[in-house]
Symmetry: C2
């Protein structure tokens, strides 16, 4: 990312888990003990590294994150747990820290045992290549079907002392609110207690990653970690400091979430879906998600077709309050539905023009209440089908 | 269909609603007053013909069904209602019956006004070409992206008098339980009262069309009609007669539902998904639907990839009771998951062989209860994307 952050080092190696010799094992390391927070998948099927890291982070402290792509270590039973533990042990021994200080994350194919020989052989070079400029490579190593590494940064000040927040993420497929198939690791040099960090992380995840949808599938491995090493040297945080930090953390995750949607598997369009005028907060979210996950809406986005009938039909089956004759819909600045009826061919042609852009906004005003939601999503393309029909072959 | 049924006539013409001069307007006519039952979409956005037909069928009687493809007459406001009414009036006048005896159904693009000149001009030839052998053409006329007309037949006897049930359907896209984007019209010569017919129809729809999923989208126009003209001359139905009729009706709808899944937009695989061992009936249905609608599962089916990790992940996010270590999964006769773990490369290779067939069964045993469900579904292919990205252009 070009980004560095004081007190942290990172590295990545090609352990051989991905085909073709790409970077596939990443290490993030805090030179001193760091406050740690984590948010994990809500899927009942949780990968071994998720189960292990949930234990390791319970005390609010960590020193390292080791993450591999190429194999999810999910649906691998007791052997998978042993492999995740062994990964933490190998890394901790080499770093001279406790295994419980190591957080583990994996992404890739589900249901295949992790090749521990590859991990074992890679740990020495992985630790030896740790450097402050290693974050870019680490962001590359956690990619699966991602087409570019995703990093973001925020700079703030607390009690007069400047601090930074630097984050990375991988996304691309199995992406759906609650949470996306995604890993995200966030590093900051602020001094903050674990409880505040956890709260800020959870709130930020809810507003960002949990408002991102590529295909409506939720992964077994979703993990967001935040480590705060306190090197910035600020004292206890004032109320205002906390709010600024929470905003900054959310900003970093929002940037990453937008990149995840933009880089959705096979995506050709980045679409921000704004649903307004819903009867309740739940209705707003449910409605926005139903539209964003509709295969028919997503293929119309791909075809640059302002097919508002599919949006109306998706909302009509979303299980929310709706009045057909109250609906208004816009593509960017072009209104295509007014009072539940189409605005005509000319409006649709203008809207289709807007949809030729890489990114646009769909605004839906239901006019039955005051609640609003925003979802980042993308289209469903031939390429999505190709990627996912051939993923394991 | 080659099928005929005594006391009914049918016809179809090319009114010009579809591009390219294909049949697009169908008429089914009962020579005498028939008992009538109907089941309609649960989508809150209901097309005009749905709203109108719901009124016309309230008295349990009907004489005719007029159905067009090419335009859904949905999201068309008061003008759409007037157009649906006018369609019923034109047909009724020509047939010499009351407008309330005509049921109307439409399928096609949402949000565009119906071209009533085309309908008006087509009604005379439509009524004039009514004939007992017209059912096949009618089944063709209601097709949209369907690749073949769908018809089915059952022969039974009540009180010693033989009767028949003949059905037709269109499906292809926007297909999801509750209900599919589908029209289905069922004709029978049994004598049965409207209440019994309605109950049998609803139960059958629940077990068949509502267990069919192509893409998880529910249409604004879904309609199933059943007309019973009583020409078979049976007396009051015994308990046993009723049960046989319900079974026969369900059988006809089951045949049609299977054809709809087999002919899903772009489908290359017809997949029967059997979920067993769920903790409750709701869990069984929710679990089966979540797997059947997962874009990642569907693309794996297209790729003939027994990627059971995606099935596990879909169940894990379905919001149902699940124990990862209790899961068993088969493709046809090949077990690929036992106790939550993969059965190895050899099993997967055998399963991949089975998936080269046009049709196969996925059996999932969750082993947490005694409830089971079955869903008919299909894969998600490049062709699905092509069809739906270009549908209106």
């Amino acid at each position: 990312m070009g980004y560095t952050i004081q007190g942290f080092k990172a590295s990545a190696v090609a352990a051989g888990l991905k085909k073709g010799g790409a970077l596939d094992l990443a290490l993030l390391y805090s030179e001193k003990e760091a406050t740690a927070a984590g948010v994990f998948t809500t899927n009942l099927v949780k990968a071994a590294p998720v189960l292990l890291s949930r234990e390791h982070i319970r005390d609010g402290k960590a020193r390292a994150i080791v993450a591999n792509a190429g194999n999810a270590n999910a649906c691998t039973g007791p052997q998978g747990m042993r492999d995740a533990q062994k990964t933490a042990e190998l890394v901790s021994r080499r770093l001279g820290i406790h295994p419980e200080e190591v957080l583990v994350a994996s992404t890739g194919v589900i249901g295949e045992p992790l090749d521990m020989n590859l991990i074992t052989n890679a740990v020495v070079p992985l630790v030896e290549s740790l450097q402050s400029s290693g974050l870019e490579d680490a962001a590359k190593a956690i990619m699966t079907t991602d087409s570019f590494p995703k990093t973001a940064r925020f700079a703030g000040a607390a009690g007069g002392r400047p601090y930074e927040i630097v984050g990375m993420a991988k996304g691309a497929g199995m992406i759906m609110p609650n949470m996306a198939t995604m890993l995200s690791f966030i590093l900051t040099d602020i001094s903050i207690d674990a409880h505040l960090l956890q709260n800020a992380l959870q709130e930020g995840v809810e507003k960002t990653f949990n408002r991102t949808s590529v295909d409506g599938d939720t992964s077994t491995n979703d993990t967001v970690f935040a480590l705060a090493n306190g090197v910035a040297g600020n004292g206890p945080l004032s109320q205002e400091d906390r709010m600024e930090f929470a905003r900054g953390l959310t900003r970093v995750m929002d940037d990453l979430a937008r990149m995840i949607a933009r880089d959705g598997e096979g995506a050709t369009k980045f679409v921000t879906l704004e649903l307004r005028g819903a009867a309740s907060a739940d209705d707003a979210l449910q409605g926005a998600r139903t539209v964003a996950n509709s295969a028919l809406v997503k293929t119309a986005l791909y075809g640059r077709d302002p097919n508002w009938g599919r949006i109306m039909a998706a909302l009509g089956r979303a299980g929310i309050s709706m009045e057909e004759s109250a609906m208004d819909i816009w593509i960017d600045d072009v209104q295509i539905v007014k009072g539940g009826l189409g605005c005509g061919k000319e409006a649709e042609e203008m809207a289709a023009k807007r949809m030729e852009n890489d990114a646009f906004v769909i605004i839906i005003d239901m006019h039955v209440g005051i609640f609003a939601e925003k979802i980042y999503t993308c289209d469903l393309s031939h390429e999505y089908v190709s990627i996912n029909a051939d993923y394991r072959t």
